[in-house]
């Protein structure tokens, strides 16, 4: 049995604790820019990850396609039954027409939002392997005009997170569910102009694997405002100069009072599917709007 602690080792251990505390202390506050060795590392790994991430996603899609083929067989059998039954066919046509109209509406919405803002499209190249902080790396950086604290959304307008660090060719994006450094000013659309419910969206407490149903917490809603299940939550545009207002975050799933009973906490079901991300848009605010 070896002795774990000689006095020399004890000293080294204590010294390393102090060094750790110093390193964390130096980097804990948000920095304007990563230092050049950090930027170099992020870019170098980003390119390697980018080469791997897309093919893997394609393989995943292949599995999905197989499931789709199975679904198609079943559908085919159903359609053959329905071939003699004209009325059910007519109903199906109507359903398809509705779906088509909805998709067209979505397309116009996307056109509408792209008219409002300058969007930069981006591919995801990697995702944090740690369970305790949630962030992804995307393949656009300061060369494409991305800046720190810009909003990141999916095609259906759901907010994904904010840009945390920018290197020349890649950026790190903090997801809504991050438990370490997320804070976005948000408001609830509760049809009460005098008493708008503001709060801070601050990470998820239950999303430890990609399989859980994700709920994001919104804290600090004052007690005198009325918020209910099912109401929509959008960004308020108050906190960051680069963060536009009225980006859709999600729907309220439940409302509780916090432990001290001073404020309310709402759990939000995010609109964006944060479990599987591949194509995203960074929102560039036009200079005229940025105050």
């Amino acid at each position: 049995m070896t002795r774990f602690f000689t006095s020399k080792r004890m000293m080294a251990l204590l010294a390393s604790f102090i060094l750790l505390a110093a390193l964390v202390g130096l980097t804990l506050r948000e920095r304007e820019k990563p230092t050049w060795p950090e930027a170099f590392l992020i870019d170098a790994f980003g390119w390697v990850q980018g080469v791997i991430y897309a093919p893997v996603h394609h393989v995943a899609d292949f599995f999905e396609q197989i499931q789709n083929i199975k679904a198609l067989y079943e559908e085919n059998a159903k359609l053959k039954q329905n071939l003699n039954d004209y009325s059910s066919m007519a109903i199906q046509v109507e359903v398809l027409q509705r779906e088509n109209k909805k998709l067209k509406d979505d397309l116009y919405k996307l056109k509408d939002i792209s008219g409002q803002f300058d969007l930069v499209s981006a591919n995801v190249v990697g995702r944090s392997p740690s369970s305790w902080n949630k962030e992804i790396t995307i393949d656009v950086g300061s060369k494409n005009g991305v800046e720190k604290d810009m909003a990141v959304i999916t095609a259906n307008k759901g907010l994904v997170g904010r840009v945390y660090e920018v290197t020349p060719y890649h950026s790190k994006v903090l997801l809504l569910t991050d438990k370490e450094r997320m804070g976005i000013s948000a408001k609830v659309l509760n049809n009460d102009e005098k008493n708008i419910a503001y709060g801070i969206v601050s990470g998820a407490t239950n999303d430890l694997s990609h399989t859980d149903k994700v709920r994001v917490e919104m804290t600090g809603i004052t007690l005198d405002t009325k918020v209910e299940k099912g109401q929509n939550v959008v960004t308020s545009g108050l906190a960051y100069t680069l963060f536009p207002a009225n980006l859709y975050i999600g729907k309220i799933a439940s409302v509780t009072e916090d432990k001290l009973g001073l404020t309310q906490t709402a759990e939000i079901e995010p609109a964006a599917s944060l479990g599987s991300l591949e194509f995203l848009y960074v929102v560039k605010k036009t200079k005229a709007e940025a105050r």
Partner: protein, 169 residues
């Protein structure tokens, strides 16, 4: 195996962790490959090598995916160092013992990271949820430790330790 090659292998593990194991159907598999390989390094090469390797790969993970530096650098370094001590004191020629030590240190590594991020982060995760998640990772680590035992021991064996490795297989 040269120390630089060990570091490159760890970097490869980090890339696999952050790409392949994050995409939907594969994300069900949740091992921490970095910890598994680092523990094999500490078993075959001793505490100090594992400490330096853990420190470097942890720092790289912090830079790439962390919001501040030091969390994983510290976690991996301490885990590598103390695992090396444990392997040296109980170097049994039994696979069961090796895997058990692996499971224990996987659990400790994940929980250390959780504790530190509770200390410096501000959103709160319940301890029970964290422990449940950690146990899940621990089980996957055990599976991958078994799968990687033969190649890692072969790759990491030094001239002095080679005979011992072959005897233990």
């Amino acid at each position: 195996m040269h120390p630089l090659l060990i570091l490159l292998t760890l970097m490869g593990a980090l890339v696999v962790q952050s790409t392949v194991l994050q995409v939907q159907p594969f994300s069900f598999i949740a091992p921490n490959l970095i910890v598994v390989f680092l523990l094999y390094v500490s078993m075959m090469r001793g505490s100090l090598t594992a400490l330096y390797c853990g420190l470097l790969i942890g720092l790289i993970q912090d830079i790439l995916f962390g919001t501040y530096l030091g969390l994983y650098a510290y976690t991996f370094a301490t885990v590598g160092y103390f695992a090396g001590m444990t392997f040296r004191s109980y170097w049994s020629r039994q696979l069961v013992m090796v895997i058990l030590i692996m499971l224990g240190y996987s659990f400790l590594a994940e929980l250390t990271a959780y504790g530190l991020s509770r200390l410096f982060g501000y959103a709160h995760v319940d301890l029970m949820a964290a422990v449940t998640h950690t146990v899940r990772i621990m089980i996957w680590n055990g599976v991958f430790a078994l799968l990687l035992y033969v190649p890692s021991v072969k790759l990491l064996a030094t001239e002095r330790g080679r005979s011992m490795a072959e005897e233990s297989l």
